[in-house]
Every structure is written in structure tokens, then in C-alpha cells.
């Protein structure tokens, strides 16, 4: 291995030149988009704009799903190229990304965060724990999956789901939203 030390500027320039990090866009399941669009219509959710503001909420996660959410935000997956961005307040959010089982202690805070998000709002349950409590279901301290507290529009399975799987789910949401009469 070479011992040559790259200058920081050379290194930074290389990142700009090569754009090596952001991977290919994952394929999105067409039938899944139609199904999701139909469900959004049936739920009477009005169509949102082409870009979506995402707000992450952790009502009980182990932190594994958060690692992968950070990965989709970062250079390797570069969420911003799809018009998706993270916001710091539920008041600015179109989509709530909820990770982890819902602990009894955080159930009221999760409910309040959802109420603070303006209508229309999507709720995406990310990871096996968010779907039904995962390995933690049945505990005295866990209420269960996100659907014990909020209406869930989309689930993304995995423990944790890979960044590719999370991105695929979010793109499906974007497409389903765009495919509907607005």
C-alpha cells in the first residue's frame, strides 16, 4: 500500500470528481406503487408536492434503524437527489419515519408528534419492531408496533432494513403520491 499522503483538498476534490458514493437508484415495485396509491386514495389523503419533508421519530428503537436512516441521508445514498429531505420538527413534515417498537413511556410523545404534523401526513413504520413490536412484543414496557398508536401508511421490513430497502420504500411513496390525481 502506498504511503503517499493525500492532501485534504485533493481528497475533497476527488470526492467531487468521482462521485463514487451515491449508488444506483433501486428498482421500485410497480404493483406496490399502484396498491399504495389506491390505499392513499381510499384513506382520503390529499396529494402532496413532488418533494417530501421527512421527520424521524424513535419511540423505542435500539438505534440500529437510525444508523441506516443516517446512511440514506449521507453521501452514499444522497436522499436529497430525490427531493427528499429530513426536517427537525414534525410541524414541517409530510412524512413521519417511525423506528422501533413503541415503548409505553413514549406513546404519548409519539401521539403528540403526529398531532403536530400538518395534515396530510404519511406514517412509515421502519423495521420489524415498528411493525408489531418485533422481538420486544409482550414486554411490560412495550405497547407494540407503531399501529398501536398511529395509522400506518407504509411498512418497511427488516432488522434493520438496509438503506436500499428504506430508499425503495420512500421512492414507492413518492411515486404513489405523484401517480394519483391531484
Amino acid at each position: 500500500m502506498s504511503d503517499r499522503v493525500l492532501s485534504p483538498w485533493h481528497s475533497a476534490w476527488r470526492h467531487l470528481r468521482d462521485r463514487p458514493a451515491a449508488g444506483p437508484i433501486p428498482p421500485v415495485d410497480e404493483a406496490g406503487i399502484r396498491d399504495l396509491a389506491a390505499r392513499l386514495d381510499a384513506a382520503g389523503i390529499r396529494r402532496l408536492g413532488r418533494g417530501l419533508a421527512l421527520h424521524a421519530l424513535d419511540p423505542g428503537s435500539c438505534g440500529g434503524c437510525e444508523l441506516e436512516l443516517r446512511a440514506i441521508r449521507d453521501v452514499a445514498y444522497d436522499l436529497a437527489r430525490f427531493g427528499l429531505r429530513f426536517v427537525d420538527s414534525p410541524r414541517q413534515a409530510d412524512v413521519l419515519l417511525v423506528t422501533g417498537p413503541v415503548t409505553r413511556t413514549l406513546q404519548p410523545a409519539l401521539q403528540r408528534a403526529w398531532e403536530a404534523a400538518p395534515d396530510p401526513r404519511f406514517v412509515v413504520a421502519i423495521g420489524d419492531c415498528a411493525i408489531d413490536g418485533g422481538v420486544f412484543k409482550g414486554s411490560y414496557a412495550v405497547a407494540g408496533g407503531v399501529d398501536t398508536t398511529l395509522p400506518v401508511d407504509l411498512v418497511i421490513r427488516g432488522c434493520p432494513p438496509t438503506p436500499g430497502e428504506v430508499l425503495e420504500g420512500l421512492l414507492m411513496l413518492l411515486e404513489a403520491n405523484a401517480a394519483r390525481p391531484g
Partner: protein
């Protein structure tokens, strides 16, 4: 002869690799007042409270019996005991006499039971006390943060007491993420329960799995095969590299030098993809199991890991140079003095940046690290810049260790069957954020009681101490420099 040595000379209950000594309340209190004894963990049992202590000569596991629901507090002498005593009260119902803080910690009054790990958990009667913060001075302003604080962050509540732009005091309230993991592990075989150890803290999944597996192996007196030990170390160092890269990135974002974070993000992703090829899971969850490892390293995974590590090693000098700008911005931010770190016995990068000589990989007889010459990395300044330098130095060392381990992988079995034994054991591992300890008791091959001690228990009090005197605008960077996992502490 010191008190600890005198206690160690008495007969005790086998708790491999040591003995656990049952003390009288007077001896327990005397231990608390003994200097040179570091308190690493305290946890409950049906009718007792256990503590794990370290002195220069070795480890000491002790127990005091609970009488009329009470036991003598250690917090008047050991500031690190405070959070443990609050948690023991919430989970086992044992109250510490003369404790410095009797407020609840994990129990926010939302469970149907109180003291869920007690022999007979009582139902909850009446409402729990509200969350309270202790202001040192009523004239201070208060900045409330959390439990959901924006960003992609774990839930937790913080209260900053400020005067003008200066943080005078910081207080935390965690426990929001408590999922009842010790209760869920009870009655299960070590193999079934290891899924919970892997999901205590997602960013230290491998390290917690190793500490848990080693405790179960100690209790059963069954060592894992050499190939499993070597591959566990590969996974642990990969996890450390990924975590340190993420922590440097978070520090770069919070410290206003995001350029330093970008290559970290890219290499972290490359390491995780290589881990996926090698161990079939990006975070290597459930790869470490009691008795060994679940699946062997994939043939093409070994090359993927070598390539990812070589690429990182090649760019580390450039990352270090980008971090020079960041380090200057973090100079003097959130200073944790060596005295505070020693009083709390905080380990990990946070402790080592404040002069602590603590790295469990250098503990005697810890294979395969005993042959790897782990570099003792230490700084004395205790500020965010010192913590950054420790992370950078450890990245280099971990990359070197992965290269060495992969070059010298022993052949053979990857798992040994654990007998359906009864017994007690301790296990430990050096996680990315510090020393992890697991204690468990098996009864006929099933877990009767267990405690998983995340490094956060001793890092959070040091973070609180370091925040006193810090500028409010440095709060985010100061906090990021400690790299705390709330889930790991919340159980």
C-alpha cells in the same frame, strides 16, 4: 492488606472467572468509602444487590443482602452509583439508604407494574411522580430539550440550566427507550436470549453480543473455538471502525466542519457493505452467539473486507488532516477533567481522552487481543478535541488489527455446544463507546437473572460534568463528542 484483598481472601460464590463475595452492610459501606476502588456496575437480584468493582490488583464482585427492602447506598462516595441506585429501585424495588438521588430513572409511571424484576412485582397504585429537574439556582434560565429533539437521534430528555450563553448545569432524564430487556431474557436459553443482547444498542450490537456470549460461556465453563474468537474480534473491530467513523462525522457536522465528515460517511458505508458480504448482515447482528459464531466468514467476504480496510487505511492520513481544522474548533469544548473521569471510572474513548488507562482489550488473557498489541491511546486534555484525537488513533489501530486477524485466521470449528448448566458468569468486551460488562445466572440452562452494563451508565455523568461551563453554542458538538447510546443504558 487492603479491604478488597481481605475480602478476596474469604470464600465466595463461584461466579466465573471470579468469586462473588457476600458482604455485611458495614463491609459494603466501607468498600464504598475505599479509595482506589472503581465502581463499574451495580444491579439487583430478588433479595440482594450486586456490585462489580475494579482495583489495580484485579476485579472484585460483591453482594449485599436486602433487608426490609433497603440496602446501604454507595452514591455518597461514588458519584457513578447514582444512576444504578435509581434504576435498581425502578426495576427491583430495592431502595438505597442515604442515596444522593432518590428520583425514578427508568420508570416514568407508564407501566402497569412497579419493580417488574422483583420476586413478586406489585401492581401500580396511583400516579407516578412527574419528571423533575433539580435547579441549583432559581435565577438560572432553563433550556428544555427532548424527548424527541429532531435530527435522526435517540429519544432522551435534557435540561440545560444557563446564565447568559453559558451552561451552568446539565441534567438528563433517560429511560424513555426502556423495553424491559432483562425481563424478556429471563427463562430463555442463552442462544435465544442473545437476540436481545444484539438489540440492546444497535451501534454496539457485536460488542454487547460478545460480552453476553462470554458471560454464558463462563457460566457453562465452555470456551469457544479459536476460529470463532478470531472472527469475533474481526467483527468487533469492524463495528468499532464503523462507529468511530460515524462519531467523527457527527462531530464534524455539529462542529461546523462537515468536509471532514464526508470521507467518513463514504468509508463507513464501504465497511458495512463489506461486512454484509462477509457476515451476511451490515451490522453483523446475531452473528455472535453463545459458544462461538453463527456463520463462518464467506469466502468472497474476506477479500471484500481486505479491500475496504485497505481503502480506509489509505485515506486515514487525509481524514486526519481534514480533522485538524475540526480539532481547532473543538479545542477547550466540554472539558471532562481526568479527576472527574477517574471518580466516575468512565472508560471508552471519552475516558481515555481524559487520561483513563482503560481498555478491556488489554485485560489479561483476553484472546485473541493478547497477541495483537493493542495500542494504549490516551489524551489528557479531556475536551472534545482530545476525544476526536482518540477516535482517530483508534481507527488506525483497529484497521491494523483487522488486517492482522484476517492474515492469521485459524482453521477449525466455529461453535461449541453449551451444556444445560447452572451457574454464574461475567463477560466483557470493549465496545466502540467503552467497556461493556454482562453478568448472568443460569438455572438448568435457562437465564434466571441478567444485567447488561452499557458504557453509557458512566459516560452520561461525565458528559453532564463536562457541560458545566460550556458555551450553549457548543452543546451539540460537546454532546456529539461523547457518543452516547441512550438505548444501551435504557435496557
Amino acid at each position: 492488606m487492603s479491604l478488597a484483598a481481605a475480602i478476596r481472601a474469604t470464600p465466595g460464590i463461584p461466579c466465573r472467572p471470579w468469586l462473588r463475595h457476600v458482604l455485611s452492610p458495614e463491609q459494603w459501606r466501607a468498600l464504598g468509602a475505599e479509595p482506589n476502588l472503581a465502581l463499574l456496575a451495580m444491579w439487583g437480584d430478588s433479595h440482594a444487590v450486586h456490585a462489580l468493582l475494579r482495583e489495580p490488583a484485579g476485579m472484585l464482585a460483591v453482594t449485599v443482602t436486602v433487608a426490609d427492602g433497603r440496602y446501604p447506598a454507595l452514591s455518597p462516595w461514588r458519584p457513578g452509583a447514582r444512576l444504578f441506585e435509581r434504576a435498581i429501585h425502578d426495576l427491583w424495588g430495592h431502595a438505597a439508604t442515604d442515596a444522593t438521588d432518590e428520583r425514578p430513572w427508568l420508570d416514568h409511571g407508564r407501566w402497569d407494574v412497579t419493580a417488574p424484576l422483583a420476586a413478586r412485582p406489585p401492581s401500580r397504585i396511583g400516579a407516578a411522580p412527574p419528571v423533575t429537574f433539580l435547579a441549583a439556582d432559581e435565577t438560572l434560565d432553563q433550556v428544555p430539550i427532548g424527548p424527541f429533539a429532531g435530527g435522526i437521534a435517540e429519544a432522551g430528555q435534557f435540561r440545560l440550566f444557563t446564565r447568559g450563553p453559558e451552561i451552568v448545569q446539565m441534567e438528563s432524564r433517560l429511560g424513555y427507550l426502556h423495553k424491559g430487556i432483562p425481563a424478556l431474557m429471563r427463562g430463555k436459553s442463552p442462544r435465544a436470549a442473545s437476540r436481545f443482547a444484539a438489540r440492546l444498542a444497535g451501534d454496539a450490537s457485536v460488542a454487547h453480543s460478545i460480552a453476553f456470549a462470554r458471560a454464558a460461556e463462563a457460566a457453562c465453563d465452555t470456551p469457544p473455538p479459536p476460529r470463532a474468537l478470531a472472527l469475533r474480534a474481526v467483527m468487533a473491530e469492524l463495528e468499532r471502525i464503523a462507529s468511530h467513523l460515524a462519531d467523527i462525522d457527527a462531530l464534524a457536522q455539529a462542529g461546523g466542519a462537515p468536509l471532514a465528515g464526508t470521507p467518513c460517511q463514504r468509508h463507513r458505508e464501504a465497511i458495512l457493505r463489506a461486512a454484509q458480504r462477509g457476515f451476511s448482515h451490515r451490522l453483523m447482528m446475531d452473528s455472535v452467539v453463545p459458544g462461538g459464531i453463527a456463520t463462518d466468514l464467506a469466502a468472497d467476504g474476506e477479500d471484500a473486507l481486505r479491500i475496504a480496510i485497505a481503502a480506509l487505511g489509505h485515506e486515514l492520513p487525509a481524514i486526519a488532516r481534514l480533522c485538524e481544522v475540526l480539532a481547532r474548533r473543538l479545542d477547550g469544548v466540554a472539558v471532562a477533567t481526568p479527576i472527574a473521569a477517574a471518580a466516575l471510572a468512565t472508560g471508552g474513548p471519552a475516558g481515555r481522552a481524559s487520561g483513563a488507562d482503560s481498555d478491556l482489550r488489554r485485560s489479561p488473557g483476553y484472546r485473541p487481543y493478547q497477541d495483537l498489541n493493542v495500542s494504549p491511546v490516551r489524551e489528557q486534555a479531556g475536551d472534545a478535541a482530545a476525544r476526536l484525537l482518540v477516535l482517530l488513533a483508534e481507527l488506525r489501530d483497529s484497521a491494523r488489527m483487522v488486517r492482522t486477524l484476517l492474515a492469521e485466521l485459524p482453521d477449525g470449528e466455529i461453535i461449541a455446544a453449551l451444556p444445560q448448566a447452572s451457574g454464574e458468569g461475567f463477560g466483557w468486551a470493549e465496545g466502540p463507546r467503552g467497556d461493556i460488562w454482562t453478568w448472568l445466572r443460569l438455572d438448568g440452562g435457562q437465564i434466571a437473572n441478567v444485567f447488561l452494563r452499557d458504557p453509557g451508565w458512566l459516560t452520561l455523568p461525565l458528559l453532564e460534568a463536562a457541560m458545566a461551563g460550556t458555551d450553549l453554542s457548543d452543546w451539540a458538538a460537546g454532546r456529539a463528542s461523547f457518543g452516547l447510546s441512550h438505548a444501551g443504558m435504557d435496557l
